[in-house]
């Protein structure tokens, strides 16, 4: 498996990367860790004339933690896992990142690449929808912010333009309990079904809940109705059941090697139920 030939670029600044993307249009592709793109190139399912390697762009790196949290797009999954301040501030990130791929891939794969390439199998997009994160995109026309909940259009199609770069992900410091529950065929696999849940509670009652599902549609699925179904409840069996029922109206899984649609729908309910229970127990 050898990819087709390409021109390699390693710009040092965001502006340089944008100008390369602008100059080469459809023929260019930005690459972070490359662990989604390179296999596609090797299988010759992606033909890239100009590969723009982002690794030297310092502005795309780093994690800032304040009232809100900003994660540079080039932050690797391993950096995210090993950042103890980040884990204290938003522990769901580590819980999810540890369920992505394997150690070698987490050393190279980035959060930005994971959320930007639009693969419905990726875990971070659903997680970012759960956290109501904002993606900052920079292009020749300047920067703009897009909510993760509005970013995904269909598999591999997002509201990012070809000449834009995802620069950073920002979200408010989450409150309450959390859970990232994922069932996969084996370690390193994409989810058969996964749920990201954040629950805030007071006096044994849910005050706010956010729920997103992974790999159960051609985009990640933020289910506002599922979260709403929990608010005001004690997260008892009936409440969880109504959240699951609401979530099932929002997903649209496809049959594949991980199983038929009926299984995935049933599993989505089980996984979400477990995620809610765990998140509430931590709230």
């Amino acid at each position: 498996m050898i990819p087709a030939a390409f021109e390699y670029h390693r710009p040092k600044a965001v502006a340089d990367a944008i100008s390369l993307l602008t100059q080469h249009g459809d023929d260019a592709r930005a690459m972070a860790g490359g662990h989604s793109l390179i296999p596609m190139m090797k299988l010759r399912m992606a033909h890239i004339g100009h590969l723009v390697d982002l690794q030297d762009i310092a502005d795309l790196k780093g994690v800032t933690i304040g009232a809100s949290i900003r994660i540079g797009a080039l932050t690797t999954q391993a950096e995210l896992i090993n950042n103890t301040a980040l884990t204290t501030a938003a522990p769901i990130l580590k819980e999810a990142a540890l369920q992505i791929a394997d150690p070698q891939i987490r050393n190279v794969g980035t959060v930005g690449g994971n959320v930007a390439n639009g693969d419905p199998g990726n875990d971070m997009p659903g997680l970012m929808q759960c956290l109501d994160a904002t993606y900052t995109l920079t292009g020749p026309r300047g920067s703009r912010d897009v909510r993760a909940r509005d970013f995904y259009q269909s598999a591999y199609f997002t509201s990012r333009k070809d000449d834009e770069l995802l620069v950073a992900i920002t979200f408010a410091k989450p409150v309450g309990g959390y859970a990232y529950e994922k069932q996969k065929r084996k370690i390193g696999d994409y989810a058969t079904a996964a749920a990201a849940v954040q629950i805030a509670a007071s006096g044994g009652r849910v005050t706010a809940a956010s729920i997103a599902m992974t790999n159960l549609s051609d985009t990640p699925v933020y289910s506002a109705a599922a979260g709403a179904a929990l608010v005001g409840t004690a997260c008892d069996a009936a409440a969880i059941k109504s959240a699951v029922t609401a979530m099932l109206l929002d997903i649209n899984p496809a049959s594949d090697n991980r199983g038929p649609v009926e299984f995935k729908r049933h599993l989505a309910g089980v996984i979400l139920g477990r995620a809610i229970a765990r998140a509430f127990s931590r709230a």
Partner: protein, 162 residues
């Protein structure tokens, strides 16, 4: 296609070569630098037989372009042994029968070498989780895990003695 000048520090030695940008790190190591200890198994970053250490981290060299690695410090299986002979991990794999056909072994040991630097005294569960990016078809992993755990305690004992 035009070739690029690639400079790497491999197993402590500066090395340079010309390579097309599309050449993968594993191909450059094997074909251009003659370091055939690093193998190719699945080519889609699942099996880990191509694992090398790049800038202090384990990576799968079948999914890194040589161009990306340009300027990097690389350790391959050929660089694990020291001047005084086999590394403890290498002798431990032999002692505990942690290999059979040997094809996954270089990636396995190179990964374990980094794992024990990240976590010098892992539990069995941590070893199994930390080695999950490396497949073996022969051993069923039981003796690999045993070899790594024994190497960890031997290395700790050696360090304590020094």
């Amino acid at each position: 296609m035009k070739k690029m000048h690639i400079e790497l520090t491999v197993n402590g030695q500066p090395m340079e070569t010309l390579a097309e940008p599309r050449e993968l790190l594993v191909h450059v190591l094997r074909e251009r630098l003659g370091l055939t200890g690093t193998h190719i198994g699945c080519e889609t970053s699942h099996c880990g037989v191509c694992t090398v250490d790049m800038n202090g981290k384990s990576v799968k060299s079948c999914t890194v372009f040589a161009a990306q690695a340009n300027g990097a410090t690389i350790t391959t299986i050929e660089g694990i042994a020291g001047a005084d002979g086999m590394h403890i991990l290498q002798s431990s794999f032999r002692e505990h029968h942690g290999l059979q056909c040997g094809y996954c072994t270089p990636g396995m040991i190179t990964r374990a070498w980094r794992l024990l630097q990240e976590n010098p005294s892992p539990t069995e569960e941590e070893v199994r989780f930390g080695m999950a990016g490396n497949l073996c078809r022969c051993t069923g992993y039981q003796n690999i895990v045993k070899a790594i755990l024994h190497a960890a305690s031997e290395m700790s004992a050696k360090e304590a003695a020094e």
